[in-house]
Amino acid sequence: MLSVNAFSLSLDGKRLIDNLSFKIESGQVLSIMGPSGIGKSSLLNFLSGSLTPHLSASGEIYLKDQALHLLPTQERQVGLLQQMPLLFPHMSIIENLLFAIPFRVKKSERQALAIKALARLDIENKANALPKELSGGQQARVALLRTLLAEPKYLLLDEPFSKLDPALRRDVRAFVLDEIRQANIPALLVTHDPEDAKAMEGECLELKNVTSVSAVES
């Protein structure tokens, strides 16, 4: 379970998010919606530990009992999926997947794990293809599988469907939800599209403008 306690965010003394708290159970997706500039991306950066220093944020993140907000990014074991699939263009599909599998996994198993992931997409024959040879929807799916192969403890999704064709979106959404349930980790989705939130079959939080501008920062 991932829990966020009393998260607040300010930019130049202007309070963007005030005292936000939520919990996400394993295998569940919490959707966060709200207008641009409200601080959705900053919330994700806060959760992944890569908030830019000119934003001031406070709050706590717990994964079960572990205090994540005290850890640097590389020790949090966070998975992040963005608009762009960010598959490395100079590496084959299987190399992209192998890249993510933790080092401790034995060599023979690594290969088997990667092939198994490809089999999920029915593209074992594309193992040695380059990312650009896949369709947009397939790239998005490979990107998700790659992220999950790194065995993250929780997953952050930053509008991962917005660049896809509307027709493709439904399939990819279902695929993502299915994989998250199988991996059984908490996931947070940031989106503009109410359909995304609905498809994730979880809670939906809508961020609104904080009207009162507090001059003093907590």
């Binding site: 992944s48 590389q74 490395f88 590496m91 890249f99 933790p102 380059l130 790194a150």
Partner: protein
Amino acid sequence: MPLKHPKQVASLLVFLLAMPIAVGLVGTVLPAFQYFPPLGSHQFSLAPWLTLFHSEEFYSSLTLTLISGIGAPLLAVWLALSLLAWGYEKPLFRRIEAMLAPILAIPHAAIAIGLLFLLSPSGWLLRLFSPWLTGFERPPNWITTQDPYALSLIFALVIKEMPYLLFVMLASLQTMQARQSLQVCRTLGYSRLTTWRKILIPQLYPIVRLPIFIVIAFSLTVVDLAMIIGPNTPSTLSVTLLRWFNAPDLSMRYIASAGAVVLMIVIAIVLAAWEFGHRVLQQLTTPERSNGKRQGATDYLVQLGAMLGVLSLITAFLALLVLPMWSLTRRWRFPDALPSQWTWDNIHSAIPLLIQLSSNTLLIALAATGIACLMSLLMLESKRASYTKETPPKHHPFDWLIYVPILLPQVGFLFGVSVLMLQTNINGSFLAIIAMHLLYVLPYVYLTLKGPYLAYQEEYLYQANRLRYQPWRNYLLIKLAMLKPALFTAFAIGFSVSVAQYLPTLIAGEGRHSTLTTEAVARAASGDRKQVGSMALLQAFFPVFVFWLSQQLPRHWTKWRLALKTSFSMRKKSSIDKK
């Protein structure tokens, strides 16, 4: 690059860039006032200046420098702009575009030697037209190359500089909406050339001002080209100064230093005057731009320039063609259009020498360019670390420091730097030559790499580090691997700059280590065309070959790597199956 202390690294790099510049300047200016402890002179004096200003050779050399140093860039800019205006997006022009980069990679000394073989009174051009047209049975007494008015030098400079300017302009056009402007103006009834004159060139000029300045500084100070094809007795100022620096009478060094200071001031004045001239021209032509005329008489200037531009490109091509011809010649009497007897003997007998020169050239070029690539990566990474998405990029000291060595005259400045090498006792070694080359290789490598490196989508690297936290490994395997095309191109450009260096090799190496360039320049005047042809040919071959590799390798790298990997794993599999 996961740099721990980018700020400290940046300051160290600034020091490394600024130190040789400062030493070079001090080492030029102090001897000009007769202060030069290595020669035992500790008294300041104005004597060198008085001698310099009483020397007649100084004034005649300076005049030649001004003629060629201003004439060549003027012509080069005119021809490059005209070619661009005439040919932009035409099929024929695209072919010229594809030829530009290889031409740029060829060292200017090789082109100059080719021009010498082509244009001299006994050159290929006259052979082609003799005796059936000219009636000449033997070379005429004309002075075509090395003429006293520096016309052949200007021509050689234009042939070298016009492709460079054209290349830079084409790259800059991508940031302007040239095609759309041309379309809009065509619908308004403007002729193509008038659109260029009134709309596009005024936008283009500010972007290419710096490359033009580099070309001007180069024209005013060039040594090797002027030695091969420039006037002698008197020669241009930089060649005269080089002779004074190397004179057996060591006191000439003071006068030469004073001359080098003059040359620096001349560069500054010419650049200022050029900029002033541009402002005036702009003032004069601004009202003309909005007078509504759809075409004008100056369009003919552009047409003429384009024709001359094509002509000079053809000449450059012929000049390169004549190099291999001479190196394979056994017998080529004057009016014959082609050698009557061919042979491999020239090359065969020169092989030991050519191998030695080539290995020196390659050692220096590979080392200097390798170091330059590493330094550029360090510089760019510390520059990138100095700003984030939110704070806009500031003017970084790198961006102007890097230009200083290419804008300063090599003669003088390099003698100043060599004092530092004397002090550290590395003078005459390969290390010294490589260090001196670095001064000129680094700017071009840095500038080539800068755009792609700073435009890199850092998200790929972040994602890699989230998937597998190994910052150095990921920097190499993800970021640099993705930047391969830019890295390879930068390497090829740095390599060609290093191969072309004449004076830095000569001064740092104290004449102990020859390269293809130093040897070809030294022998250019000897008249032994068969030997010089082979050297110039090799000198041109290496950079073009490296450039070709740099374009082909990144394109096929991943494909070949994966093909190799699958064939390897298949062999492994079949051997396991057999067991």
